[in-house]
């Protein structure tokens, strides 16, 4: 049984159709990449999956339950964790407390919630700044906090929205390592990313979105080799 299934999902903002009849499924533990030009509707698709916005049409099923009308918090508890493209930390709380909220309210139950959060902070390289207020973090640290906080909700499916942009080579390698270990632990992943080499070193399947339409989904190498994708990504380093 698929972990996540979208069936004919559409969303319009006024006259602008941002998600256009999208259907696909993600199996438990699978990693799916999403690429597409700016404004293609990638982040909107995430917001539909998490319940931050409601679809105009279609159904979304998670773990065998129709969640189309469920609010975000219910979906988090069911196992959908997310990061925001523009980091949204709880700025007056410390880095550690940002994770603590997620761990206490998310889908996991912990005997040692402090240790659980510290493990994630270690893994994401934020342990040193655990007690700093998250409002004082640099943009890169905030992006890492987005990843860490999503992990702290103990998701079955984690949604990552452009978390590799602006990293140095070394940082990018470390990030890929972290995401691979999330994946290895059995968590399904959907990852929106413009840094294609990072994306393709993790995902098993790749989806291309363009003007809200799912242009293609399948094996990353085949998708990247297709003429339509080459045309869209003309000029972008593949």
């Amino acid at each position: 049984m698929a972990l996540l299934r979208l069936e004919g999902v559409s969303k319009s903002f006024g006259a602008l159709t941002v998600t256009d009849n999208v259907s696909f499924a993600v199996e438990p533990g699978q990693a799916l990449g999403i690429i597409g030009p700016n404004g293609a509707g990638k982040s909107t698709l995430f917001n539909l999956i998490t319940g931050n916005i409601a679809p105009g049409a279609g159904t979304i099923e998670f773990d065998g339950v129709d969640v189309t009308r469920q609010p975000p918090m219910q979906r988090v508890v069911a196992g959908i964790g997310r990061s925001f493209q523009i980091p949204q930390p709880f700025t007056n709380l410390s880095v550690y407390e940002n994770l603590l909220v997620a761990a206490q309210f998310g889908g996991g139950r912990h005997r040692d919630v402090g240790g659980f959060c510290m493990d994630i902070l270690d893994q994401t390289g934020l342990a040193k700044v655990a007690d700093n207020t998250s409002g004082s973090l640099s943009l890169l640290q905030r992006k890492r906090l987005e990843l860490a906080r999503a992990m702290a909700t103990s998701p079955k499916l984690i949604l990552l929205d452009e978390i590799a942009g602006g990293l140095t080579e070394g940082e990018c390698v470390a990030l890929i390592q972290t995401i691979k270990s999330i994946h290895a632990a059995g968590t399904a992943i959907i990852w929106i990313e413009h840094v294609l080499h990072a994306l393709n070193s993790v995902v098993e399947r790749l989806m291309v979105l363009n003007f809200g339409k799912m242009l293609m989904i399948g094996d990353p190498a085949q998708v990247m080799a297709s003429p339509e994708v080459k045309e869209i990504y003309l000029g972008i380093d593949v």
């Binding site: 988090v76 709880f90 410390s94 880095v95 206490q104 998310g106 906080r149």
Partner: protein, 336 residues
């Protein structure tokens, strides 16, 4: 280390205040009773507006219903006023459910107006309650407060008049309720739910995206603060001994002053209401003779603080000295 110092000072202060009916004058007891009840109301309003973002201007609904429930308990059902206090608290929670049901659909200023309208409706309804005097209100039967449970005990133990003993009793109850409200507020904010509230305050959308349910948490705070406010209302009117709809549901006495106290002290900080109530009392003592001017001065100070010092006097103090009390921080566990 610093924590033990804070705790010792707090305990000393509590003991000192507890001794006032024994060592001080009756006027002092009555004055401090009013200060303590205002503090209770301010602690509740601060939790509501400062931490849960629910800027209610209708808390007089719960003071009033608490007072009326207590009067009903005494006059209609022949119960002890102390039992009436508990009934007042419960009545406030019961009333809070339908008020929340309607006002939680509103946001910001509309929520504020909604809570005020709700309080007015309750006031007008209770003015129809003929058994409790309708629009003109009623008084506690003569001797009620002197016959209150515990008054005889205090009278004999401290060798004072019945009315002084009843003042002492209500005073101690106010002190206890203030202390319990402050401590439980701290414990609540340090709990899972309190952390969720702080997350909502920072970023509601992100909070929902890590599993926090803002409506549920806010509703919990709304009901709990209604309970505290209702208890306080009942206690207040045992001391006042006479209830009218206008006095019990007075928006100036039970909400405007309370907002002022919280704002000057430091909204959204735990020590804020304590600082605010002290300043308020000092201002009241020095300006009370000037009538309306007093209210205008209060208003101007409140506005100035809102514009120039969002975290109130406590915020200024914290920024200048670096001293912080009742911090809500959860420290990351240290590991080898």
């Amino acid at each position: 280390m610093k924590n033990t110092l804070t705790k010792s000072v707090a305990v000393l202060l509590f003991v000192g205040l507890a001794l006032v009916p024994v060592l001080g004058t009756r006027a002092m007891v009555q004055d401090l009773f009013m200060v303590l009840t205002l503090l209770i109301l301010a602690l509740n309003w601060n939790m509501l507006a400062g931490f849960a973002g629910l800027v209610s201007v209708g808390q007089q609904a719960f003071v009033g219903i608490g007072a009326y429930a207590m009067f009903a308990a005494v006059i209609l059902w022949g119960l002890d006023p102390l039992v009436g206090i508990a009934i007042g608290g419960v009545a406030a929670i019961v009333l809070a459910v339908p008020i929340a049901f309607f006002t939680f659909r509103l946001n910001g200023a509309y929520f504020a107006i909604g809570t005020w309208v709700a309080a007015e409706i309750v006031r007008l309804s209770l003015a129809q309650w003929k058994a409790l005097g309708g629009g003109t209100g009623t008084s506690l039967p003569k001797g009620t407060t002197k016959d209150m449970f515990g008054v005889d005990l205090i009278k004999d133990a401290l060798d004072m008049s019945s009315s002084a003993a009843s003042d002492a009793l209500t005073y101690w109850l106010a002190l206890l309720l203030a202390a319990v409200t402050l401590v439980s507020g701290y414990v609540f904010l340090r709990s899972r739910m309190g952390l969720g509230l702080q997350a909502i305050r920072d970023n509601a959308e992100a909070a929902r995206s890590v599993g926090v349910d803002p409506i549920r948490l806010k509703a919990a705070v709304y009901l709990l603060t209604a309970f505290g406010t209702g208890l306080c209302g009942a206690l207040l009117f045992i001391q006042i001994t006479r209830v009218t709809p206008d006095a019990a549901f007075d928006v100036v006495d039970w909400t405007a002053f309370v907002i002022f106290i919280t704002v000057i002290g430091g909204i959204g900080t735990l020590p804020g209401p304590v600082v605010g109530v002290i300043v308020f009392y000092a201002l009241q003592r020095t300006l009370a003779d000037y009538g309306t001017i007093y209210l205008i001065v209060l208003g101007l100070i409140g506005i100035a603080i809102m514009l120039f010092a969002r975290k109130g006097l406590w915020g200024i103090f914290t920024a200048k000295t670096g001293i912080e009390l009742l911090l809500l921080r959860h420290r990351a566990p240290k590991r080898s």
